[in-house]
């Protein structure tokens, strides 16, 4: 493999919280003799390391505040890392925002020249591409108006039009597609496709998993200031989606909706967060006994997003007698349920009771949740596979 075009090694970034910093001489003087000055350190990135190969289209995803923009600014050389190294080989142009330096008091034409200069184009270079820029933005006839009289859509178009002219080995793009209408976004994507063909290396921050799957060769998921996943776009996009449907905590006692004597408890709950159309719901569970027990009954109940019970059963109803348990025994319990669920979020309650259902050992409401995906969207509790045949009667 070729030499990486971007190398990031052990990068950490910390910010001193500005409102606690001594920004005036008065506060500096007043705090001069104090031994410990109150400085709060906010960590934005922790031990980030990755390589980008030439021509690669790398997506950076993560929740708000996970450190994506800080990472981009460090790649662009705008911020310095607190520790660690970033090596960039080649010319890098950052687009942290479209239309940087645009001035509302200047005309469209003057802003094109100003923005062009910020991208490193001399006046004569902008001269030679000016017609194309205006044509691409579809703003012929508006260029001598002041920018403040443009609609925001027009401003974005002219800014993007200039930006497409940037000559660089590496482009660093931060969520510029969040603005603009559908037609504009399509134009952006067409431009991206062209860039991808031209072997420009691109680092692209976005929340749009569709764009990640479509354009990125690889993606990085940032979570809690660290890299939580680094791999194929598909894999990382799936992990990102999972962030917003978190698996439940299996630490006993964390859920407040849990009761029972605890003589035997669930210690592990594994439920896939998404249940696809042709999939099977699997509740993969582990229990541990804290006492010697006679026959116990395992059960579950599934409720839909409005809390209505959809289905459930237990081992007694199924007439499966499982025998007694000794203190310290661990048992794996696996339920499988065909996907009869209606489209949407579902929650799973898990139970362990004695054989007669009198003593509750562990009754855990909302121990897990999953989202069922159904093409057929019915308003009812379940949507099992049904078939329909309509034929003419002779």
């Amino acid at each position: 493999m070729a030499q990486p075009i971007i190398q990031v090694r052990g990068v950490c970034k910390e910010f001193l919280l500005p409102h606690l910093r001594h920004t005036t001489i008065k506060s500096r003087v007043l705090n001069m003799f104090r031994e410990t000055r109150t400085m709060e350190v906010q960590t934005a990135l922790r031990d980030i390391g990755f390589d980008v190969q030439p021509g690669e289209f790398l997506g950076v995803v993560g929740r708000n505040g996970s450190g994506k923009s800080t990472l981009l600014k460090i790649l662009a050389g705008i911020y310095m890392p607190t520790s660690g190294d970033v090596t960039v080989t080649g010319k890098l142009v950052p687009f942290i925002e479209l239309g940087v330096g645009f001035n509302p008091e200047l005309t469209g034409r003057e802003n094109v020249y100003l923005n062009g200069a910020l991208l490193g184009f001399s006046k004569s270079e902008v001269d030679s591409m000016y017609e194309d820029i205006v044509a691409f933005a579809e703003l012929e006839g508006y260029m001598d108006q002041k920018l403040k009289n443009y609609s925001s859509g027009m401003q974005v178009r002219i800014a993007f039009s200039v930006a497409t002219r940037a000559q660089a080995d590496i482009l660093v793009i931060d969520e510029v597609l969040a603005v603009g209408d559908a037609a504009f976004q399509r134009k952006c994507y067409e431009h991206f496709r062209a860039l991808k063909k031209s072997d420009t290396t691109i680092v692209f921050v976005t929340h749009d998993m569709g764009a990640v799957r479509q354009f990125c060769d690889r993606a990085i998921l940032l979570e809690d200031c660290r890299i939580a996943a680094d791999g194929s776009a598909e894999h990382v996009a799936a992990r990102y989606t999972e962030l917003f449907n978190p698996r439940p905590s299996v630490e006993p006692g964390v859920s407040t909706k849990r009761k029972g004597s605890g003589a035997i408890r669930y210690t592990r709950v594994d439920v896939a967060s998404t249940l696809f159309e042709d999939g099977v719901l699997t509740l993969d569970l582990e229990v541990q006994a804290d006492k010697d027990l006679d026959e116990v009954a395992y059960g579950f109940l599934i409720k839909n997003s409005s809390g209505a019970p959809v289905l459930g059963t237990n081992s007694v109803l199924k007439k499966q007698l499982l025998g007694g348990l000794n203190k310290g025994d661990r048992v794996r319990v696996v339920w499988t349920v065909p996907n009869v669920f209606s489209d949407g979020l579902h929650r799973v309650d898990l139970t362990i009771t004695d054989f007669k259902g009198l003593a509750v050992y562990d009754w855990w409401e909302e121990a897990a949740s999953f989202t069922a995906v159904k093409d057929e969207k019915t308003p009812y509790l379940v949507t099992p596979a049904t078939s329909l045949e309509v034929s003419a009667i002779e």
Binding site: I25, I78, E97, N103, E105, L114
Partner: protein, 271 residues
């Protein structure tokens, strides 16, 4: 040699393009919504000169002993004006362009230089007014005027050095602008702008003229307007006394550059 030229071209092409664009933009914006537009760059100094002339030369008769006192006075004000504007506007420049600092990567010194550039344009126009007055008052041009470019270089070096230092300091300490404002008010009277230096007793005058701005203004008046100007050479009896104000300027320049470079990587976060 060719390699060196290519190196210089590659390294300074982008800063120069940026600098040009920023100076032009700044100049365009300054006189944007006004009726007379760029004409104000000439009208404003003319109007201010007239007021000062009426007050100081006609009423107070301060400059009675100095030949061509009106233009002598105006020249001092123009020089001081350059120093004042480039340092006060330079001071606020980094914080004022924080949006750019946070979004693109470019050499930070461009921001400060662009302010210096647009102040310099105003200075050149003001000098045209001075030349106009010299023609009207028939001020003879002497050979010593050849020293003038060197004095301008000293003035620009002093002003821009201070602008670099203050702008970097202002990113950290936001009361610098108030302090600098007061310093400039005091300095305006400590520098012989409105009054001839001969009015000050020699023992104080010797002290005052060690200030680089006082030395520059007096020397520039000497070479351009009249040899009746008291300069540092006369006060100390040797032209080499200039080593002190020139030395102060050099030390300031070096200190400022070092401080600015050291701090520049954190401007994006703090400005």
């Amino acid at each position: 040699m060719r390699d060196l030229l290519k190196f210089i071209h590659d390294r300074y092409r982008y800063p120069l393009i940026l600098l040009g664009a920023m100076v032009v933009t700044d100049f365009k914006l300054r006189y944007q919504a006004s009726l007379l537009g760029y004409l104000w760059t000439l009208l404003r100094p003319l109007a201010i000169f007239s007021i000062l002339y009426v007050v100081f030369a006609s009423f107070l008769k301060i400059g009675a002993g100095v030949p061509y006192f009106p233009v002598y006075l105006l020249f001092g004000i123009v020089l001081w004006g350059f120093f004042n504007e480039s340092t006060t506007q330079g001071l606020a420049s980094l914080v004022g362009r924080a949006d750019l600092l946070r979004k693109i990567r470019f050499p930070r010194y461009v921001v400060v230089l662009s302010v210096g550039g647009s102040v310099l344009i105003g200075f050149v126009l003001n000098m045209l007014v001075i030349v106009l007055f010299m023609i009207i008052l028939q001020v003879p041009v002497r050979l010593e005027v050849l020293w003038l470019p060197l004095l301008f270089v000293e003035l620009v070096a002093l002003s821009i050095s201070l602008a670099f230092f203050l702008s970097a300091l202002y990113v950290r300490f936001r009361d610098i602008n108030y302090i600098w404002d007061v310093i400039m008010q005091a300095a305006f009277y400590a520098v012989p702008i409105l009054y001839p230096l001969t009015l000050v007793p020699a023992k104080y005058a010797r002290f005052l003229v060690l200030n680089p701005m006082a030395q520059i203004i007096q020397d520039a008046r000497y070479v351009l307007i009249t040899d009746q100007t008291q300069t540092i050479s006369q006060l100390f009896g040797t032209p080499w006394a200039r080593a002190i104000p020139v030395g102060i300027t050099l030390v300031l320049a070096v200190t400022s550059v070092i401080y600015f470079r050291r701090r520049s990587s954190s401007f994006a976060e703090e400005a």
